[in-house]
Amino acid sequence: MRVLVGVKRVVDYAVKVRVKPDKTGVITEGVQHSINPFDEIALEEAVKLKEKKAATEVVAFSMGGPKCQEVLRTALAKGADKAIHIEVPDADASKLEPLHVARALKKIIENDKFDAVFLGKQAIDDDANQTGSLIAGILDWPQALYASKVEPDGKYLKVTREIDGGLDTIKVSLPAVLSADLRLNEPRYATLPNIMKAKKKPLEKKSAKDLGIDVTPQTKVLEVSEPPVRQAGGFVDDVSALITKLKEKGFIKA
């Protein structure tokens, strides 16, 4: 089984994002970026399948500006065998939509045979949660979304999914699309020996233009704004002062 894993470069989860003064987006310059945490989980699952001999090859994929190569190198250091970068100019990268990524994935799968596409359930920057379903629809492959457990079973994957009411267990035939939920596994760290040997793993770069992928945006961002700031509170000296205040405000009956 050859697995293609999508890894998106996003602002690191630990960074406090700030909105640009002109409200067109968030500030990304000079900000720490990393692999979307859910994609990291998807990658970890693919590498685990390789270590169990259920997968033969793990290929990491990223679409975006030139800096995507950094996250691809990290993916290689975490156990991916190869990487594919579909490059778009930096100016277009922030306007990429899940549909563009799904179309790029389709192009890659047309050129090279894969048995599964693993993705994070959503990216932490746009929270769109669309790429998995879109690629499954475009390829007409079965989808197993929000996976919390994956068991390979010959030509099938048995997948336990986290849904509102509890757990749902399904069996999908390969080729299939899988998206990883938070509790699927705990991703490994890139250790020094892996980083060293990953420097020379193959990283193929193709431009979206060469592949004929139209990246014209279909949505327009009207405004990005900060969440409303919480009003500052006040201090009271003792319990009786608190009760008086609450009565004043009408929160408790007089």
């Binding site: 590498v47 270590e51 793990v58 190869k82 020996p193 020379k200």
Partner: protein, 206 residues
């Protein structure tokens, strides 16, 4: 836990006991008939452990070669820690780049002189991780094999330069790769080297 960027030395390849080196060393320890009386060139020796296996199993001469001087130091320390310094008259350390430097040729001649062809060994433990570099190495290996008839032993966990069909067909020199042994890697090795659960020993013929 220290992070990789805190490492004070650049790319300390000698600091790890790579899966390919482990399989090669295990093979040498298990095949004393091949090692006894041999002359060994340990190319890209890293921590020097394959050389140590040869010295402990009766090699006549060993050249420990790595372009990183720290690797040679690590090898020396490892020999000392394992009480193998008494072998020092049989050992030569060199950080020469054998691929590029023609004036090291006499050293290889010297190593293999008056040793039967079947006992001339060339060891490469986990050296095939970069396909461009692999191409250069294969060209060099071909020259050495045609001149000295060396037996080329490669330990590798099947990294891409040795397994990708497209790459194997694309190298300047063709060769055949004969599997001599396969070893399952212990769990702690797999945890340090992601994606690999076994390592192999191949003999390369041009």
């Amino acid at each position: 836990m220290a992070t990789p960027d805190a490492c004070p030395l650049v790319d300390p390849y000698w600091a790890f006991y790579w899966p390919g080196g482990q399989s090669l060393t295990r093979f040498l320890l298990d095949h004393e008939n091949i090692v006894r009386g041999s002359a060994v060139l340990d190319f890209g020796s890293g921590c020097g452990v394959s050389s140590m296996a040869c010295l402990s199993h009766g090699s006549r001469r060993v050249v420990i070669n790595d372009i990183d001087r720290n690797a040679l130091l690590a090898s020396k320390l490892n020999l000392r820690l394992n009480g193998m310094e008494w072998n020092s008259s049989k050992i030569r350390y060199t950080n020469a780049n054998l691929l590029e430097s023609e004036d090291t040729h006499y050293m290889i001649q010297d190593l293999y002189k008056d040793v039967p062809v079947s006992s001339r060994l060339l060891l490469l433990g986990d050296m095939f991780y970069d396909s461009d570099f692999a191409d250069t190495v294969f060209r060099w290996l071909k020259r050495l094999q045609s001149e000295f008839g060396v037996r080329i032993l490669v330990g590798d966990p099947d990294r891409h330069p040795l397994t990708e069909k497209k790459l194997l067909h694309g190298y300047t020199t063709g060769f055949s790769k004969n599997l001599l042994a396969s070893y399952a890697l212990p769990g702690y090795v797999t945890r340090e080297h992601y994606g690999f659960t076994s390592a192999h020993v191949y003999q390369i013929e041009f």
